[in-house]
Symmetry: C2
Amino acid sequence: MENDAPQGTQAALIAAGLHLFGQHGFAATSTRDLAARAGTNVASIAYHFGGKEGLRRACLREVARRMQSVLSGADRVPDTPEAAARQLETMLRALVFFLTTAREAADLVGFMLREIGEDGPALDEIYQTLIEPRHRAVCTLWARATGQDPDSEEVRISVFAFIGQAIYFRIGRPIVERRMGWAAIGPAEAQKIVDRLTQHLRAILAERHAP
Amino acid sequence: MENDAPQGTQAALIAAGLHLFGQHGFAATSTRDLAARAGTNVASIAYHFGGKEGLRRACLREVARRMQSVLSGADRVPDTPEAAARQLETMLRALVFFLTTAREAADLVGFMLREIGEDGPALDEIYQTLIEPRHRAVCTLWARATGQDPDSEEVRISVFAFIGQAIYFRIGRPIVERRMGWAAIGPAEAQKIVDRLTQHLRAILAERHAP
DNA sequence: TGATTTCAATCAAACGATTGATTAAAATCC
DNA sequence: GGATTTTAATCAATCGTTTGATTGAAATCA
């Protein structure tokens, strides 16, 4: 598999694509805006990627490439329910901080959420590459922590709720900020969210493997 | 406040706007697509709404109008924590079913989520009209159920997580369907989600006002 | 080595198509 | 028949894409 990071004009166009596609959507972003932000000419898009749609796919590939280097290291499955619960807490913290504060990842997340929302053909690759393996891994952890069947519908739904609440703090960020009276979600605010969600997680897990 | 339901061509255009704006986004929807779906002429948009942007605002007004007739009846604040908890469960069930299965509401929800995502000027009205009062009401319930301060940051974050997990099952629906092996989220599937989220809710609330 | 050719890359300019908006005439309604 | 609504036709602007020219560095030749 090709894993080389694009360079030069290609990289600049992909960066512009991640930013503008994620911020305003694919259709609302013009090739001229892309070229201007990348500091190059409009024709470069067709030359390097075959067109605007090709740039979108290149952005998708870039997201996949950068993600698997960020979200790795949760492959080891703990032995005890307590260790599994601790690992879920660690994962929750990493997820919330990644979604809400990660400066470098802001464009990545924005682009991916937009891509999911537009329900395009890109969704297949996103799902198979990024979501399915992750979700399956968390299911294993969750099952270990609660003593349930990792392949059961119950566990899969619980994990979606678990991840979904974290994702909402990114999707509904402008709303959250307004309601919370926060100018922005920085590390301090993210920590408050993590603290609260961790309490919820512990309550849910505790009830599950109670006698 | 004007509360009359639009009729005729206006209603057809608003319905088309809710559907197409919600499905493909505002920028990706042309006035000709709108007119075709509404069974009228492009010029009708400018005539009735002053332009494409005016139709967007009219759609927003329609969402607000239809929402307050759907999500009403949670104004009475129960006396006991148990009653408040029960009301939260009822609200959760209504929310999940509304988000995932409501046939009539599919366009409404899609439009609103898209509007939030685009972070446009419409967000102010959405927030003040639909979200803030609702969120505040749920906070009151949550506080009553757990014995906390309804204005505390903790309660507000908990309520966002509570609502956010439900919303995710709508935003990430294509992903959820794929992972769950569901052809669609119908009443049966929605019930499974509700059952699971209700378990989570009970676990969280139980821990809160334990001795 | 020095001259020539090749090639990827970038640019300004222009293309046809489509966009949202506008106009005035035709149609419809009360 | 006067007011309201819908229509076809047209507008300038912008869209994504293509074109032909130009660049500079590597490759090839003499």
